[in-house]
Amino acid sequence: MQFANLTLGWMLSLAQSRLGVGPLVQSKLDATTAAPTPHTAFTLPPLDYSYAALEPHFDEETMRIHHTKHHQTYITNLNAALQGTPFVGLHIDDLVARLSEVPAELSGKVRNQGGGHANHSFFWKNLTPNATALAEGSPLHKGIEQAFGSFEVFQQTFEKAATSVFGSGWAWLVVQEDGELKVVTTLNQFSPLMGAGVVGKGVAGFPVIGLDVWEHAYYLKYRNVRPEYIKAYWHVVNWDFASDRYMEARSSIAHPEL
């Protein structure tokens, strides 16, 4: 127990000096690593809704396979890779922000499988069967208008980005280190949370919304017509969760000492 705490404390100070994740993500990390749970393997987080709840936009079969097979496989592989290492017990968002600390022989696996776990965990919370439009006066709506000119232009930008991923990947709306909102994409299971050292300064940030554009996310219902799937996504975006994320990011930047 003592050794595990020492190791985690060492890792934390290393992260602060080396990683350069920025005050935004760093303060989140500090908060979540305050009380680590040692030696707890990652588990599949349950959805807040049934597999059929997002119909007709996201079909039940895809939701079920996506959650119980694809996401589970990332977790199973990640746990296997991390067995016996001091990284067991970290929050997944901490782990993906600390990829540079993972030994070289594990880093590829941890990046792919850990990224997969982080991205999908975020994705399920990002979706809701009770989607309501983002309130026009809300901070996030104002932030989007400021960054893109209008909400419609933001949506077009996001759709274009999601369509243009040449292969497997994700489209994101992130808050960057300077507090600005930006639409970015990542390939495979890279996450903006991985920081500038891994995904580049232009992509690094704190996700507010994200869309999986791997074929497994839409193929059963939408076949090759990814643009239709992207349009359907707007019907299930959890803007309450997105707004919370935005406020979290903004307050971290405003008060990095917290």
Binding site: L187, W214, H216, N224
Partner: protein, 230 residues
């Protein structure tokens, strides 16, 4: 059946050849020409590769995915040709990723559908001639080569392909992974490719890609692969 393969392959090679811009000077008076790519026919029915690959997948894969690569490749060709003929180097270079993706997608799928065959057209029959000898020389046995090939397929992160290739200089065989639609060009000649994108198997195998990587061998056309050797 075989003449349509020849015709489409010749057409493809012609298309690739004439699409190469003639740029002897920065602003060439001979505008680069372009030849529109067309979707090559399959040398077998959509359902003919069952049970390894379902007819539903083959039809979608051919009429939707491959067709889209053909269509978009033609669009990118137009855009690059326009950029080059107006001396807009930056614009032409900015189109490289799109050219690689759509052009590569067209190349890859053309070769892929050619290197599959129904059992009654020789699909799954192991090679017997020079390719067999080369496989034995480089891998010890056909099964050892297959094991490495399957490992390469299973190890692909995200979308991509695995290819049995031949080194153009040494003639040596190799198994290589290619991400997204990156084609086998340059140093290596593609002999046999397997599509590991999810669309290649998802409707039938869902996330059970190991099963697909096992079953596909029953419909691989090793004769075509051998014909690609230099």
């Amino acid at each position: 059946m075989s003449t349509s393969i020849l015709r489409s392959t010749t057409a493809l090679r012609t298309a690739l050849r004439t699409a190469a811009p003639q740029t002897t000077k920065a602003f060439s008076t001979t505008a680069p020409t372009r030849a529109l790519a067309t979707l090559p026919d399959l040398p077998y029915d959509y359902g003919a590769l069952e049970p390894a690959i379902s007819g539903r997948i083959m039809e979608l894969h051919h009429t939707k995915h491959h067709q889209t690569y053909v269509t978009n490749y033609n669009t990118v060709q137009s855009q690059i040709t326009d950029a080059l003929s107006t001396g807009n180097t930056a614009a032409a270079i900015a189109l490289q990723p799109a050219l690689t993706f759509h052009g590569g997608g067209n190349l890859n799928h053309t070769l892929f559908f050619e290197n599959l065959a129904p059992k009654k057209q020789g699909g799954g029959q192991p090679p017997s001639g020079p390719l067999a000898k080369s496989i034995e020389m480089h891998y010890g046995s056909f099964d050892k080569m297959k094991t490495q090939f399957v490992a390469a397929l299973a190890g692909i992160q995200g979308s991509g392909w695995a290819w049995l290739v031949q080194d153009n200089e040494t003639g040596a065989l190799g198994i290589r992974q290619y991400a997204n639609q990156d084609p086998v060009v340059g140093k290596f000649t593609p002999l046999l490719g397997i599509d590991a994108w999810e669309h290649a198997y998802y409707l039938q195998y869902e996330n059970r890609k190991a099963e697909y990587f096992k079953e596909i061998w029953g419909v691989v056309n090793w004769k075509v692969a051998e014909g690609r050797m230099k």
